[in-house]
Structure formats: C-alpha cells, structure tokens
Symmetry: C2
Subunit: 493 residues, 2 copies
C-alpha cells in the first residue's frame, strides 16, 4: 500500500513557485464558496514522525484564510475530557457548516500509538477502527467532507530526516526519545498503519497517501487534493440544494399493530399506597444517588411521551430525592443557531455532564425520529439513519459507565383531551397549553407509528426502552422512580 | 450584623403548608414572565456549614420549573479551569437572559475559606472582594438581577445542628472533619464573613441574611424574598423596554485633536530591508513562541484598524513563525444567538484558550466602543461603561500571566480609498470589499473620535495600545512583528 509513496515523487522549486500562487487563489475562492455551503470540511493530517505534519498544517493555514479555519492537535486528555466518553473531545471541536477543521493527530493517533506500544491487542485495535468508521460515517451522512492524509516516508528517508533534524541545532528539539523508538520499530508501525488505513479507507472518506520526502511535492499535492475534493463537494452540495428533499416515507404499518396498544392503561394505585411507595422510593433513591455520586457514576434519564403525559410531574417527584448541586434538568426545545450548523447530535454531546452527575432530559435526541419525522423537519433519509446514530451514541454513553434510562410515558387519546381541558381551567397550568398541542393531537396516528418504530429500533440491550402506562399519574410516577432505583442499585453493585 | 438573624424567627408548619402553594404558584408565574424578559437572574446561596444551603437549593428547584433553572456548585477547579483566569469558571456558567442560575457556593467560597484557613492576608482578601464587586457590578450594569443569601446560624445553633446530623446515621455523612474545624473557629469565621458581606453588600446586590435555624422560616423567607426582587425587576425591565434608548453621546472633541493625527504616516521601509527584517523577526518569533509554549505563557493579540488597513496581511506574516497546532485566528463578526443573550464580554471569555496558546483576534472586544458606538448598536451608557469593563477584563488576562498586545493599524483616508480601488480590480481580493466598507468610510470622523477615546481610556500599564503607522504595509508589518518579539522576550525573561 505504501509502495506508491516510495517512488521518489518530486516537484522542482521553480515549478512549485509558479504553481502555488494559482493554487492559493483557487483555495481561497473555494473557501469563499464554502462559507455559503451547507457542510463542514474536516481535514486530517496524519503520518509518520518527521513526515512534516506540522509544516503541512502551517502551510494550509497560510494558504487558506485562517479566520475560517481552525487547527487542532490532541495532547493528553484534560480531566474534563476523561470524565466523558472517548469521542467527546472530538465532538466538541467539530467545525460548523461552512468552516474548515484541520486536525493534526486525531481520533487515529491514540489507537495507533497504543497498538504500536503493545498496549492493546489487534482485536481491540479493530474495535477502535470500527468505532472510527461509524463516527466518520455519521459525519459524512450529515454532509461533511472528510479528507484524510497520510504522510509517508520510507525507512531510509525517515532515518535521514531524523539525522538532518538532529544535526541542526535549530531543529534538534523536534526529535524526542519517543521518535527514536518509533524509528527502530519502523516495520512494525508500518504494518499497523497499513492495516488501519485499509480498514478505514471508505468510499466517502478514503485515505490519501502522500510521499512526504520532497517538501514541495508534499505541500503542493496536499493542497491540490484538497482543492479537487472541496470543489467536487461544493458542486454536489449545490445540486442537492436545488432538489426538493424527498418526503417519501416507508410504508407504514397499520396503526393497530403498534406496541403501545398492548399496554394496560387501566393500572392504578390508590392514594395511600402511592404516598407510601413514593416516600419509600424517594428515600431509597436519595441514598443510592449519594452512593453513585461517590462512585462517579452518572445517570442520564430521557423522558419522552405524549403532550400532557406528565413528564414534568415525574421530574418533580424525582428531584426531591436528589441534591440540586448534582443534577440538571434539560428541556429540549428548538436548537440555537450554533447548534443548527452542526450535526444534530452535537447539541447533546456538548451537554454531556462530568462524572457523577444526573441529567434528566425533558424530551431528548429522540425528537429526530418523533416530531422531526412526523412534521417533516427531517427527511426520511435523515430520520431513518438516526436510529443507528442514536444507538451508537447511547452505546458510547453506556460503555463509558453512564447509566442510561429511557421512558416513554403513554396515555390514550381520551386521557389527553381530559388533561388538556383540565389545564385550560387551572390558572397556573394554563401556560402549559398552546394551539400546537391541539395540532399535534391531530397527527396522533402518525406519532403512534413513529413511537412504535422508535421502540422497535432503539430498544437495545444496553439501553432498553421502558414503556410506562400513564393514564393514572400515580401509577406512572411510581413505576419510573422504582425502575430508576432498581437500575441504579444494579449499576452500583 | 448577624444579630438580626439570631432572634429566633420561626414559622409554624401549618402556616408554612398554607402559604407555600401560593408562593410556589407566584414564583412559577414570575418565572414564566422572566422567560420573555431581557435579563438573567443570579441567585447565590451562601452561609455557614450546616445552615441548609443544599436543602434550600433543592427547595428552589422544586418550586421553580427546573427546566429553566440551573444549579451549580463549585468543587475543586478542573485543569481546564486552572489554565484560565480565575473568573473563567464563573463566566462559563452564567445564565442567559430569561433564565435563572442558582449557585451553591460561588465566587465567595474560595476567598472565604482561604482567608479562614489563614492562606491569604486581610489585604489579599480585600482585593478578592474588590474583584467580586467589580464582577457583580458588570453583570448588574448589563441588567442582571443578583440575589445573594447568607444563611446564618448562631454558634449554639450550629453546634446543635451538627449534633443532630451526627447522631442520625442517615445524615452523619454530611459532617466532615472540615466542618468540625469550622465549628471550632466559629468566631473567627463569623468576623471574616461579616467583613466580606459588608464589603460586598452594594446597593444593587445587597446581601440578605437569613436566620437558618428554623427550616420553614428559612425556606419560606428565601422564596418570598426572591419573588419580591424578581417581581420588582420584571416591572423595571418592562418600563425600560418601553423607553427608547437615549442616544445622547458625550460632547465630541474637535477631530483634529485626536491622537491619530500625530502619527507620521510617511514612514517606510524599502523592499530589501523589509524582507531581511521580516526573515530575522519571523525566525526570532519562531524560537520565542516555542519557548513560550514550553513555559505555558499564552499570547492574546488584538488587531484593530480601519477597513483595508492590512490586518489580514499582518496575520499572514505572523503565523508562518508559529505552529498551527498552537494558535487560533479569531475573526469577530456578529454574535451568535447564544452570545446575544449574554453579557457582551461573555463571547470573549468563552474563547479564552488553554495555557500556552496564541490567539490572534481580527477585531476584538473593542467593537463595543468602535462600531457599536458609532453605529448606535450600543447605547452611550453601554459603551461608556465598556471602557472600565474592558480594562478589568484585560487586567484579569494579564494578571493570569497572559501576554496581551493591542495594535491599532492606522491609515489615512486617501490611502484607504487607494486600497479599496485596488481591491476592486484584483480578482481574489474582490470578495473583501462590500458596500458596507464605503458606508463606514462616510463616518470617518466619528470613528476617529471613537478610536481616540478608546486609546485614551484603555491604554493601561498592563495592556498599552500600540499605534501603527500603516500607510506603508511593509513598515506596519515589521513594527508589529518586532514589537511582538520584544514583548515576548520580556515576558519570558
């Protein structure tokens, strides 16, 4: 695979000096067009030590308008990063639409160096690469252009390069002991790199291997390749914008088959039992939550349900058992403009709390496959792929040790109407009811279908849906809080 | 001062149960109105150990709609926080307009406990309190409502409270060794607290001392006080919105007196000298920047200047000397909607980089006293107080060890026109010129006055303005880069 980058590619200084002004002006033009476009550009500069990653990044900063390009390097994780799932540190620095993010070292660096150092097995490495593929695919699905460079040096060239750098007092600092060790293990590292590149060279995000020996060739080829990919993507983006989003949905199942119909909504608790149980579970939850805080186990609770199904009431029964310094209630409404120009999951990634916290979501990332689907705010393509994206997101949360609970609060149509009417008459509940609530009600069947699909496709082993029979608020509240207690207890043991 | 909170205030359980539903409903109503209002609410819950700070925070979370209220507690700083100025961790969690931020422990906690522990002198404590006063005043000037509670216990009551908590196995964990030590030093802590409260009880942000012995009295009084303050502020806010912003500015000096007129714009460098100096300084800067990175000394460079004064060109001459992994160029345009609902300095606070980084601002926080002043986007009140706010902001940066440089790139009106016309004819510079540039030009004299005032009021010992004679680009670039070198050299020694 690397042989093609050991052929001695070169460009003369004269040719370089002649071509670069044209290339630069074309890159600036493309960047100008990008500002209006609907996608971000992610450029990775990876490669061997001494292959000129830093120099290449500097060059691109000079060629592009650096005000609309951000460069990131990843050293050791900060404590705030370590307290979140692995990819959090990358999500937090993804570029917005119309912008360029340049990554020197990236999500590949850590797996590569850990594998080279013998700290992870080949199987573990493959799992890392698999996660990277899924991550990149999500960004690509959202429209991102990902350009990945691998700067290659032959063993001989790397040796020589190190020698030159070492002998020059101005550059000797660049060579660390680690680099020297890498040089020794050249063949092994080459094998690992080749395997990684092969595994992650996908159709939409292929690796571009660049022979890095000749500085002029390296820089110019990188620039040219970026220009070509960017131009092609801009053209595609423009064509897509002209086309109306296809709104053709999957054939719907007859509504009577939904999983919600099977729930026994008649279940009730009498007042006495309710208050007794509530007290028992609240005090149990209090003790468990304190323990979880100590053990730095976070909880993420996603509450979904029909309008007026009682989500707020559930939250008000949970929080007295918690410490206000230790939880946050997050209400999901329309995204801000900063959120609008990122992948739809970005707004959820950015609010992932530090270790030991409880986050209660009043509506959640499931909006994508519920309201956005039904109201046509997301195209069928978008919401159909969201199931897998959400499963992946949740898998990352739970494998980081976060306890994730998802509740669907179910009521029937009659009960909803009864509650709407009640709200109209109680003064301090009046603000809760709007015309939109009545409009949503008209699409009950479509929502029911969407809920059914959601449960079917995102009830996973690590994050199963819990359906709550909610026609009686007392019953629903106890079922949720007792379930939270049981899950937390299990997580702590 | 605390005697008024040792009078044995009490409310019976019956009275409490009768009043609370009314209070709660009134708080919810007020919170609903707040959503549409133009200010944030900041509530601090401070006080002695065992006085019920956590319980009070929990109570407020139950009474308010927790989806529009966020609670924060501040433990030890994270490494990301320690790498920024002290107040960064508070700025990052300030509530947006229309929202409530509840702080259990706050900017007071650290100074108080350090003073009580004898780690800082009384003079240092006073400086801390002074900084707090300035911080709070800035938020108040921007419209924020700040409500500060101090929960007080007499020595006897604190002792009893500790005993009760210790004896109950369910609550014994609440009493730490530190608390016991505090109890011993009750009198000393009381003196320190009294001094702090007196120093920071300002007209707009007075401390409210609450007798904390009786749970019902404590909770109810806190809630009532919040309601009263919030309602009063809502009324005031409504009245202010109806009034047109006063646009009456200070009497302007005759423009010919401005400091800019004194600059010798004829200064030049010939081509050979320029290239020689550029190379010398770039390689010098390269070495210095590497050293600064090692020593974790950050640079913040603010570039201001007329349209077409060559800011971009300066940036392109600086960055080749830096490592792209180590700097960011930040272009200041219109704020995002998340930024719009915070104090205008919030957007600059949030982007303060970690230690050892270089941030180059193409335009900066000075927009407040330049474009926002001249175009009437900020009221005279707002931009007049911005001078002090900016000085304070910069003082915090520099006293954290950040090297802060501010350049005003000056050209005359004829030179600007020449450059505009040049831009119109060069294809890849065309996108740089818009109608707005010509419109701004018509207000040259007003801008000149604004620049003059800005330099006069914000050229401080710790962050002086450097005026750059910019009619010849070569001269300007060398002056800036050589100044950066000299300042960095000084900072490193």
């Amino acid at each position: 695979m690397f042989e093609v980058a050991e052929l001695g590619h070169k460009i003369s200084k004269e040719e370089y000096s002649k071509q670069v002004p044209k290339l630069r002006s074309a890159l600036l033009d493309a960047q100008e067009d990008l500002k209006e476009a609907n996608f971000p550009v992610i450029i990775l500069i990876s490669g061997l030590d001494g292959s000129g990653k830093g120099i290449t990044a500097n060059l691109l900063n000079e060629w592009f308008d650096p005000r609309h390009l951000k460069t990131f390097a990843f050293g050791e994780s900060s404590d705030e990063e370590r307290e979140r799932p692995e990819f959090w540190r990358f999500w937090r620095v993804l570029p917005a639409k119309g912008r360029i993010g340049l990554y020197v070292g990236s999500w590949y660096s850590d797996p590569l160096s850990r594998r080279a150092g013998g700290k992870i097995s080949e199987a573990e490495m493959d799992r890392c690469l698999q996660r990277i593929n899924v991550f990149e695919q999500q960004l690509i699905d959202d429209g991102a252009l990902i350009i990945k460079f691998w700067l290659h040096l032959s063993h001989k060239d790397q040796k020589e390069r190190f020698k030159t750098l070492s002998n020059n007092p101005k550059t000797a600092w660049m060579i660390t002991r680690m680099d020297k060790k890498h040089l020794k293990n050249y063949d092994q590292f080459r094998r690992i790199a080749e395997h990684s590149l092969r595994t992650t060279s996908t159709g939409k995000a292929p690796w571009m291997i660049i022979e890095a020996t000749d500085t002029y060739y390296r820089g110019f080829t990188v620039g040219q390749h970026i220009l070509a990919r960017l131009r092609a993507h801009l053209t595609k983006d423009l064509l897509c914008q002209d086309q109306p989003k296809s709104q053709e949905a999957m054939p719907a199942l007859p509504p009577k088959l939904t999983i919600l119909r099977g729930l026994d909504l008649k279940q009730q608790l009498d007042k006495d039992t309710y208050y007794k149980k509530l007290e028992t579970y609240q005090s149990k939850l209090h003790a468990l939550a304190r323990q979880a805080r100590k053990q730095k186990i976070s909880s993420v609770i996603a509450l979904e349900g029909w309008d007026a199904s009682g989500k707020g009431g559930v939250i008000r029964r949970i929080i007295p058992a918690l410490d206000a310094r230790n939880y946050q209630v997050i209400s999901i409404a329309a995204p801000t403009d900063e959120e609008q120009v990122h992948h739809y999951l970005w707004r959820f990634w950015r609010h992932i709390p530090r270790a030991g916290q409880v986050s209660i979501y009043d509506r959640s990332w499931y909006g994508r496959v519920l309201v956005e689907r039904v109201e046509g705010l997301a195209s069928p393509q978008e919401w159909l792929r969201a199931y897998a994206e959400i499963n992946n997101f949740e898998e990352q949360l739970t494998s980081h040790g976060i306890l994730l609970l998802k509740f669907w609060l179910h009521i029937d149509k009659d009960e909803q109407m009864r509650r709407f009417q009640e709200r109209e008459t109680v003064s301090f509940k009046k603000y809760k009811i709007t015309d939109e609530d009545y409009r949503n009600r008209e699409r009950w069947d479509e929502y029911e279908q969407a809920v059914n699909d959601m449960v079917e496709r995102t009830s996973t082993e690590f994050a199963p849906w819990v359906l709550i029979e909610g026609n009686q608020k007392r019953f629903a509240r106890i079922k949720i809080i007792s379930h939270y207690c049981a899950s937390l207890e299990k997580a702590l043991s």
